[in-house]
């Protein structure tokens, strides 16, 4: 964790996560302002729109617009959900936000609840991070005791109850409707859309779901104003963003930088390439995003538009860095196994297709590939994409298509020579246990 950003600024130290330190850093001033000045909900949503904040969960949907879909005056219960189910390989930012700065998420959610008229919210926390779930519960207790959460917040007539819901190991629950099913105490299987959660969400009531980092950005936007937030980044790509840098770098970790920061600079912050080796490829937005060859990546800036121009997606901001010791067939094999393992099995193209993709890549990696396997991979992905209930089908397909597109010769070498282009001993060395200096 490091950076001169907003969300991770000043969070060093054992007690920095607690209420006292958060307030000393200016925490809860945005909520106080909203409540004491009785800022109209429309004004809050207008600030968000001006900020150009886009959802940090992967899809990059404009947050202000999403909030405006909520039928604020709809009588009866309305819900808010925070998506902290972070399970997209390469992504580990929400964990750091929750353990180092949980109150910014609570404050952001409370302002969101105020703006959308929600009476109750849940933060869905990824199963494997139980200790972070406990930390978040402790922060909730602090906020309640201080009158910042619960009935009549800060003495006003606004009430909002917020709770943590702990997942237990299912990547698919990061998909927003699967997440709602899971909160309802069911299997996490995505729902058909429409209806969208804004009309039929948790327990059938209007619900808005945002990512942890999206909510964490809200207090800063209220405090500095939408335009100032936008200006931290660049047009259409407002603010700062956490990038989780993993793989072959000297200092893997989270780096919060302005949108539009050159990739080369981010790589430098992460300590540069491990062992001074050559950059081969980068997956810039979590494992579901198309892979980008290293030389192309070196010319990109870290924002939605630049990464999309390079043929990929900013996604969750998970930057997986691979050097020249990486066998691309083996890398893809592992990712394909993941999607096969995590498909919820509801749709035939995804359930069967992900298994098929994995088996074909597996046989290529193991020297049993056939001449027409690359065509087969492309045709299977073509049959999955756009034909499934949720985006996991596409998420499983995009890595396959992009690996074959950019590193096709490596796959062909495998098929013809029944071995890796990168010698096994080189791969072995490059994937050693990384001992931090």
């Amino acid at each position: 964790m490091s950076g001169s950003g907003l969300i991770l600024a000043g969070v060093d130290g054992d007690r920095a996560w607690g209420l006292q330190d958060y307030v000393a850093r200016g925490g809860y001033s945005a909520l106080r302002k909203v409540i004491s000045e009785k800022i109209p909900p429309e004004t809050i949503i207008a600030e968000l729109k001006a900020s150009s904040l886009r959802g940090r969960g992967g899809a990059g949907f404009p947050t202000g617009l999403k909030w405006s879909f909520m039928p604020r005056s709809f009588p009866g219960a309305k819900y808010l959900a925070c998506n902290s189910d972070e399970g997209e390989p390469g992504t580990f930012k929400d964990r750091d936000i929750l353990r180092y700065n949980p109150h910014t998420v609570i404050e952001g959610m409370t302002i969101a609840a105020y703006a959308m008229g929600c009476e109750r919210g849940y933060n869905y926390i990824h199963g494997e991070i139980f200790e972070v779930y406990e930390r978040f519960e402790a922060a909730l207790a602090e906020a309640r005791a201080a009158g910042l959460l619960g009935q009549n917040i800060l003495g006003s007539d606004f009430s909002f109850e917020l709770f943590a819901h702990h997942g237990y190991g299912a990547y698919i629950c990061g998909e927003e409707t699967a997440l709602l099913e899971s909160i309802e105490g069911k299997k996490g299987q995505p729902r058909f859309k429409p209806p969208f959660p804004a009309s039929y969400g948790l327990y059938g009531k209007p619900t808005t779901i945002n990512n942890t980092e999206t909510f964490a950005s809200v207090p800063f936007i209220i405090n500095m104003g939408g335009e100032a937030f936008l200006n931290l980044g660049k047009a259409n790509n407002g603010g700062t963003k956490l990038f989780s840098v993993s793989g072959h770098v000297n200092r893997p970790g989270n780096y919060e930088v302005a949108m539009g920061t050159p990739f080369a600079e981010l790589l430098e912050m992460a300590g540069g390439m491990r062992g001074g080796r050559k950059l081969k490829a980068v997956i810039p937005g979590g494992s579901s995003a198309p892979v980008v060859p290293g030389n192309v990546m070196m010319d990109c800036t870290m924002d939605y538009d630049s990464i999309s121009k390079a043929g990929s997606m900013l996604g969750s901001g998970a930057v997986i860095v691979m050097d020249e010791t990486t066998c691309m067939v083996k890398a893809l094999e592992r990712l394909s196994y993941f999607y096969f393992e995590e498909s919820c099995g509801q749709c035939t193209p995804c359930r069967e297709g992900t298994g098929w993709l994995y088996r074909v890549v597996h046989r290529i990696e193991n020297g049993l590939g056939r001449k027409d396997d690359l065509d087969l991979l492309n045709s299977v992905t073509g049959n999955i994409m756009g034909r499934t209930i949720c985006a996991l089908g596409d998420a499983a397909s995009m890595p396959v298509q992009s690996f074959v597109k950019h590193f096709g010769s490596e796959f062909e070498y495998h098929i013809e020579n029944k071995k890796c282009l990168v010698p096994p001993e080189v791969q072995y060395e490059g994937s050693q246990i990384y001992v931090r200096p």
Binding site: A77, G87, E88, P89, G90, T91, F92, D94, R95, R120, Y122, H126, G127, E128, I129, F130, E131, F163, A164, H165, H166, G167, Y168, G169, A170, Y171, S182, I183, E184, G185, K186, K187, G188, Y203, S244, V245, S246, G247, H248, P252, G253, N254, S287, A318, I320, V321, M322, T326, R334, L335, F338, E341, E342, G430, S431, Q432, I433, Y434, V435, R436
Partner: protein, 159 residues
């Protein structure tokens, strides 16, 4: 079936949801039950279902859908290693191999003395800390080296 302490914990979870939505506490209730029992036998799942007023089949569905629930007995300590790509680039697979060698077991196996079960995990949302492993579902160990793995195993050995 479950201890008073576990039931109190489950009650605290139930209170998080609207009164008519007790089923929402199913995931936590199963987790709490598993911590007490070590794994989830059929009767325990049925007990949780009746405690929450939901059909037993619905509780089975939950227990079998999420992969941190153990529907078969496991060793006293379950160790799950992440081998997904981001971790593999920083030694996830080597760490898993080292554990296999030290424990003399493969993935999904338990040591003959019943102390350790080894599992292969998917991304735990901690890839920057690779290699990472999870002890008994709830304790994450970051930046594993062979020495640290030795240390963790030695500590668990006595527990």
């Amino acid at each position: 079936m479950l201890s008073q302490e576990s039931l109190q914990q489950i009650d605290r979870e139930i209170a998080k949801y609207p009164p008519e939505q007790k089923q929402s506490a199913a995931m936590s209730a199963l987790r709490i039950a598993q911590v007490e029992k070590g794994w989830l036998p059929k009767e325990v799942i049925e007990f949780v279902a009746s405690y929450l007023g939901m059909p037993a089949i619905a509780a089975y569905e939950v227990a079998s859908f999420y992969n941190m629930y153990d529907l078969e007995p496991v060793g006293r300590h379950k160790i799950t290693v992440c081998t997904n790509l981001p971790c593999a680039l920083s030694g996830g697979v080597h760490a898993a191999d080292y554990l296999k060698e030290k424990l003399g077991i493969d993935f999904n196996e338990t040591t003959p003395d019943g102390k350790f079960t080894l599992k292969e995990g998917e991304c735990m949302g901690a890839c920057g800390d690779a290699p990472v492993l999870l002890v008994n579902n709830h304790h994450m160990c970051s930046w594993m080296t062979k020495e640290k793995i030795d240390q963790i195993l030695a500590e668990l050995e006595d527990k």
